[in-house]
């Protein structure tokens, strides 16, 4: 398949594995993360958090804290704008700022343990901590609700008395904890199930899990007396932080300059604001810079996990392996404010399959937990965990190989997706064929061992993106990007710029610009950066080439049409083919030929294509302890075009490992008062090196025809299949169908014991 705009055959840089441009700074400790910046007269900010899961705030007395020596500012919700309940565009997001202002600082009620209720800035951390203890908050403790099904009951404690379920006609007469109902699908379910020889129907549960980034939230804010402000923070999107904070503080966006630090992981969890508006409000009040960092405990108690959920799935199929109907009901916890990822979860649930009759209904439900934030393919891993379990069971019931069953029903180009449109070119079939052909799939298994397979679908997005290429006087190129580098985008984008310009990658130097350096950029998320910023970089590089050809034409006294750009040089077409000028030659004389050479691109990228994956996993289950050991893991994914295959493999491996944690160990444990009992990595167990084997990877390349290099984003898809693949493997090892996550040793042992009649 050929991709417009580039000759795939003659790529010199794209598809190779150069050293990462940020490597030296990362391994020497020179890289500056969120908490690594210090400025003169800096104050330390701390947050007072609610000890209650649900409580009305009757009063807050900060007078003693304010009077403490060394305290420079104390803020409450009164220092942030109270905004109406309306959805306002912020970048590409529709944001309800009434909820956002209440999430960063509780107003009428504290809605979860850890909810911020006040904050102080002081000359030291010790003084700030002392000041927090002097703030007197009077609470009226209210009944709380943590479970999604209980929260949906009519007599459940109500979090918001103005929440009427959206998506239900007529509008409900009474408020409830159900924020939204969504529905997708088409066809005739009744007729579809009537055609089925086999029907499998099951319920599944997943627990909220944290993104688990190693770097806690951190920022430094400095507001000057004239209202201009600078903010340094660890974020996935400096422009989104600017938009949110300006709104919450009543500032003009141009008065706030946000710089994204290096980031120690985000996975979607750093697409929102927590400390940033508080640091700005404190700095504004104190007229001094304020630094704030979250402890790990605060990260767990007060920053977004993904939803816990209850899922019901029903699938029917014929004996010869065709799915005739598929139905799902999804109930996702949103946390304290609406906005769970149930919508994308519903869209993805059956997306790997070509279905005639399908229906998915989803509910977005508020509970007294931290407001969920995006987590890598938000919503998809949860719904697809359930669907892929049922798919596996159906294949087993009709005696068909699970990969073969998936191949028989696989979505491909032209398939109508359950959410409506027909799909463009996608690579699911190719991943399944690669799985079937892989040595892993034929390797023998021993007693207590099982193999699982699962496929996964996730979207890519485009969005507003800018890039600038500044050609230096020596011919090197300074590339300014607006999307923080989380997964290696400085490498992939430098490679595409170098490929276009025909120069070595080492000649391109990428930096992530602040919000005043270039036009608006949507955040790093939605697997969009190598796709969208890649498009912008290619466009900016082509802008540079156009200028270089023009300069060469002037020098040679010909028209620009008589000059081509080949392998980093301007060449005269036709008779003067021996004439050429390099980028360095033209850069050196740029002043004489018209001034500096700068290539710009400002686009709203469209044409993103989904990425699909199939994972294979072998496990061993210890019948005495219930411990599940991952023996072997192979992740296969369509990358469209792997610009830097090592980074693509890294994303696939990272997603698989996070999925292993989600599948086997990770969960929030609350006491009966709604207080988190395991807010740290000692008791909230993310995988460590000894928990995982080497994750083998196979990159499939079905180019996305809408990208100049065929790119599909790859960052999120790898976390979609692991939970289902592992659950299927554990089920095959034990003969017991596992439907609840995590499959921790006590749960697995209880299941084994129940089979033994124990």
């Amino acid at each position: 398949m050929t991709v417009p705009g580039v000759t795939q055959k003659n790529l010199k840089i794209v598809g190779t594995r150069p050293l990462r441009p940020d490597g030296v700074d990362k391994v020497t400790g020179r890289a500056k993360f969120g908490a690594d910046i210090h400025v003169p007269n800096m104050l330390i900010g701390r947050v007072l958090r609610s000890p209650h899961a649900h409580a009305r705030i009757k009063s807050i007395d900060v007078s003693k804290a304010q009077a403490l020596k060394g305290v420079k500012a104390v803020i409450t919700c009164a220092d942030l704008c109270d905004l109406p309940s309306e959805f306002i565009p912020a970048g590409e997001m529709m944001v309800n700022f009434k909820d956002m202002t209440r999430n960063v600082m509780a107003r009428e009620k504290a809605l979860y343990e850890g909810h911020a209720v006040a904050a102080v800035a002081a000359v030291s951390d010790a003084v700030a901590a002392h000041a927090l203890a002097l703030i007197d908050v009077q609470y009226e403790v209210l009944p709380h609700v943590m479970d999604v099904s209980k929260a949906m009951e009519p007599d459940a404690p109500l979090l918001h008395d103005d929440m009427y379920t959206i998506g239900v006609e007529p509008k409900p007469a009474m408020p409830s904890n159900i924020a939204k109902r969504v529905e997708f699908g088409f066809g005739d379910l009744e007729a579809g199930f009537a055609k089925a020889d086999v029907i499998v129907e099951r319920e599944f549960t997943t627990k909220p899990v944290h993104q688990g980034y190693i770097e806690p939230h951190a920022c430094l804010a400095s507001v000057s007396e004239d209202g201009k402000a600078e903010l340094w923070c660890t974020t996935q999107g400096q422009f989104i932080v600017r938009a949110f904070c300006a709104k919450l503080l009543g500032m003009e966006v141009s008065n706030l300059r946000v710089t994204a630090s290096e980031i120690g992981g985000g996975f979607g969890g750093k697409t929102v604001v927590y400390l940033e508006p508080l640091a700005l409000a404190l700095s504004r009040k104190a007229c001094q810079p304020v630094k704030m960092t979250m402890s790990r405990t605060e990260v767990f108690r007060a920053s977004g996990p993904t939803s816990g959920a209850k899922i019901w799935v029903k699938v029917g199929a014929t004996k010869d392996g065709r799915i005739t109907a598929a139905e799902a009901l999804l109930k996702y916890q949103a946390g304290a404010f609406q906005g769970s990822p149930v919508q994308p979860g519903a869209m993805c649930a059956f997306a790997p399959y070509d279905l005639e009759n399908v229906r998915i209904v989803g509910f977005d439900v508020v509970v007294n937990r931290p407001k969920v934030a995006a987590y890598r393919a938000p919503g998809g891993p949860i719904s697809e965990f359930a669907v892929e379990g049922v798919i596996d069971e159906i294949a087993k019931k009709i005696g068909m190989d699970p990969v073969e069953f998936r191949l028989k029903n696989a979505a491909k180009e032209g398939t109508r997706a359950p959410y409506g449109p027909k799909l463009g070119p996608i690579g699911l079939v190719e991943t399944l064929q690669a799985a079937k052909a892989h040595a892993h799939y034929r390797a023998p298994l021993k007693a207590n061992q099982g193999r699982g397979v699962a496929s996964g679908f996730w979207f890519n997005i485009g969005g507003e993106t800018c890039a600038t290429l500044n050609v230096g006087e020596d011919g090197s190129v300074a590339m300014v990007l607006g999307t923080p580098d989380i997964g290696g985008s400085r490498a992939s984008l430098s490679m595409m710029a170098a490929e276009e310009l025909g120069i070595p990658m080492e000649q391109v130097h990428a930096i992530i610009g602040d919000t005043s350096s270039l036009g608006f950029n949507f955040l790093t998320g939605g697997s969009r950066v190598t796709f969208s910023s890649g498009m912008a970089v290619v466009e900016a590089a082509r802008d540079v080439i156009k200028q270089l050809r023009s300069r060469a034409a002037k020098i040679w006294e010909v028209s620009a049409e008589e000059v081509e750009w080949v392998e980093g040089r301007a060449r005269l077409l036709g008779e003067g083919k021996d004439k050429s000028l390099s980028l360095a030659d033209l850069a050196k004389t740029a002043g004489k030929t018209g001034g500096p050479i700068v290539g710009n691109a400002a686009i709203n990228a469209t044409g993103a294509g989904p990425s699909l994956a199939t994972h294979l996993v072998d496990v061993e289950v210890d019948p005495e302890t219930g411990k599940v050991t991952i023996l072997r893991y192979t992740a296969i994914q369509d990358a469209g075009k792997a610009v830097h295959p090592s980074y693509v493999e890294g994303q696939m491996q990272g997603g698989a490992v996070q999925g292993i944690g989600w599948a086997l160990n990770e969960e929030y444990i609350y006491d009966d008062k709604g207080r988190l009992e395991n807010p740290g990595f000692l008791d909230y167990r993310i995988p460590v090196c000894s928990d995982v084997p080497m994750i083998d990877t196979v990159i499939v390349e079905v180019p996305n025809p809408r990208h100049p290099y065929g790119v599909r984003g790859v960052g999120e898809t790898p976390i979609v299949p692991p939970m289902a693949a592992i659950a299927n493997a554990v089920s095959n090892a034990t003969g017991y169908r596992f439907t609840d996550l995590p499959m921790s040793p006590p749960r697995v042992l209880a299941a084994i014991d129940s089979q033994r009649g124990g």
Partner: protein, 82 residues
């Protein structure tokens, strides 16, 4: 005229109509026409952040993407990744 296919929640809000013909040249015009024809849909089109799929390609937050006379159009929720 372009064929707009409504499913699930949107279909319910459009009085159960699954297929609607709209003579719109671009996304902005299409959203306005749909809102006028189905007032119950209008607030959702405005607030829910729908993306538009034109002949299978999803456009997020783009007013002036062209819609052909024979295009098949779907409204899908805008995706925000992680």
């Amino acid at each position: 005229m372009a064929l707009v296919i409504l499913t699930g929640t949107l279909k319910n809000l459009a009085g159960g109509e699954a297929e609607v013909e709209v003579a719109a040249r671009d996304v902005k015009q299409l959203l306005r026409m749909l809102g006028e024809r189905y007032p119950a849909l209008a607030p959702h089109l405005e607030h829910d952040g729908y993306a538009i799929a034109i002949d299978g390609e999803i456009f997020q937050d783009v007013w002036f993407a062209p819609i052909g006379p024979d295009s098949e159009v779907h409204l899908v929720p805008a995706i925000r990744g992680g």
